[in-house]
Amino acid sequence: MNYILHLLIYLDIYIIITMSLNLLVGYGGLFQLAHAAYYGIGAYTTALLMVALGWGFIPAIICSIIITGCLSLLVSIPAWRFRSDYFVMLSLAVQVTIYSLLYNWTGLTKGPFGITGIPKPTILGYKIDTLPNMFILSTVIAIICGVILYVLLRSPWGKALKAMRDDELAARGLGKNTRLFKLQAFLIACSMVALAGGLYATYVSYIDPTSFTLDESILMLSMVIVGGTGNFRGPIVGALILIAIPEILRFVHIPDAFAANIRLLIYGLLIVTMAHFRPQGLAGKYRFK
């Protein structure tokens, strides 16, 4: 039972991540590979504020959301000018830079040793330290994020974002400020992933830079791609499938040494098959341009 709860908490965290990435990839058409970096910044700021300064969970999370939101300018400003390949490369540059900062800025982040002993979240004097409570917290946060995104994407803002994705020049021709839309989309997506990062940090209570590598970004992206982009079910299905695969593999008796490799192999195969036969993903709506 505890194990299932553990998986569900992971699922919640990844659903937040994929939903926010879907806002960029599926609704904004902004294909990016820096999401793990923002996840990492969220996790690190929350952890550092809680461990080093002794802040509570809520102020730390809010502060990390603000910091990550400001740093989202790093990808949103390039997005004003660059698209497709070039933008992917730029977001990759951001990912690599932030990762190496996390890894090398030993004074602040303790580098490869990571940050240990992150306290469990306390909300309104109520300490959330058991698995069921943590599950409730993460589910509540995931639902809140989902509702925010749902409302946003149903609003005129969401429609304009889609218009920008489908034809940016036309959207600009109609007087929409696409730069502002990109800025806002990145702001929202990055703050949301920071929230997921904070949740992850407090749940696992130990973080190190290896959780926020380029591979992690690729994994997040493949969740979105496999699940589907451009609607609400897609990312949830994607997170569900890619979290379920390693668990299903447990029942097939493969040697431990290969387990991680087999898992990644299946991810890769899924991506290639999806690209060929269902570019909009399993439950998605939008095909990349």
């Binding site: 660059f82 390949d85 690599v96 090398n104 490799n261 192999l265 991506i271 690209a275």
Partner: protein, 288 residues
């Protein structure tokens, strides 16, 4: 001086990879990340063939045959069908990434995750009036330099090379004139596989190899290609060498941990200041 020479040799190898990438990128527009898979597979194949006891020349030949075949099969199985479906560049990129992951994992399953070396013991060194180079470094420098010169000569002087330049310039026009684009694209992938394998084996000879370094090194080659200028073949070569030198200087003055950061910051700088690259065709790209 030492660092400069080391950087130059590293740069020549990056140039080879950048050529391998830009051949595909210029002529098909595909972001060829799966190149990293070939880069990873090549030394492992050579290692196994030598271990089986085929003798070094045959082992090298077999390795080249397999990697070139592999590279062509990427096009045949993946990119060409997607092109026929008019898939977007993003889909091509994603599928290439998928192939990269699949092949890397297969390599890791077959040969294990640990790093290996191709040669045993300490390398032979040569001393040129104070400048000490190892044999594999010398081989790396000389072989890659000669391949780059041959490639550029082929590109500019022979008919097939010119056809290739035309392909990178305007593929639709070329096919309208009556050339077979399918073959040319296939050839591009084969050539890319060849150059990647050369670079991979030379690097493996010098510093060893493991299954997980492919993506990183290809990203550097991509940076060199973008800085060098889209549509150009000379630009990536120059930038590859430049990147090699800069990276080795960074290692010397700060630490090896900042190598990649500096590389990518250079990319950002270039994309903002001179998005068309060092040697460019007319016009700015991807700018609204």
């Amino acid at each position: 001086m030492h660092i400069l020479i080391n950087g130059l040799i590293q740069g020549l190898l990056i140039s080879l990879l950048a050529i391998g990438f830009s051949i595909v990128y210029n002529s098909t527009g595909i972001f060829h990340i799966a190149q990293g898979a070939i880069y990873t597979v090549a030394p492992f194949l050579l290692f196994s063939f030598i271990k089986v006891g085929t003798g070094i020349p045959i082992a090298v030949l077999l390795t080249f045959a397999i990697t070139i075949f592999l590279s062509m099969s990427f096009e045949k199985v993946n990119h060409w069908p997607l092109y026929r479906k008019e898939a977007s560049t993003m889909i091509q990129l994603i599928s290439s990434l998928g192939i990269y992951i699949v092949i890397i994992q297969i390599v890791a399953i077959i040969w294990g995750n640990e790093a290996r070396v191709l040669r045993g013991g300490i390398d032979v060194t040569y001393n040129f009036s104070g400048l000490i180079l190892t044999r594999s470094q010398m081989m790396g420098g000389i072989i890659s330099l000669s391949f780059i010169i041959i490639f550029l000569f082929w590109l500019k002087r022979t008919n097939s090379g010119l056809m290739f330049t035309a392909l990178s310039d305007n593929p639709i026009q070329l096919s309208l004139i009556g050339y077979d684009i399918t073959k040319l694209r296939l050839f591009a992938f084969g050539l890319s596989g060849f150059f990647t394998t050369v670079a991979a084996i030379l690097t493996a000879l010098d510093i060893g190899f493991d299954p997980h370094g492919g993506l990183n090194i290809v990203l550097i080659a991509i940076v060199a290609t973008i800085i060098g200028g889209r549509g150009s073949f000379v630009g990536p070569v120059i930038c590859g060498i430049l990147l090699g030198v800069i990276r080795s200087q960074v290692v010397w003055y700060t630490s090896a941990r900042w190598e990649d950061t500096i590389t990518f910051l250079l990319l950002v700088l270039f994309l903002f200041v001179r998005p068309q690259g060092i040697i460019s065709n007319k016009g700015r790209l991807e700018v609204l």
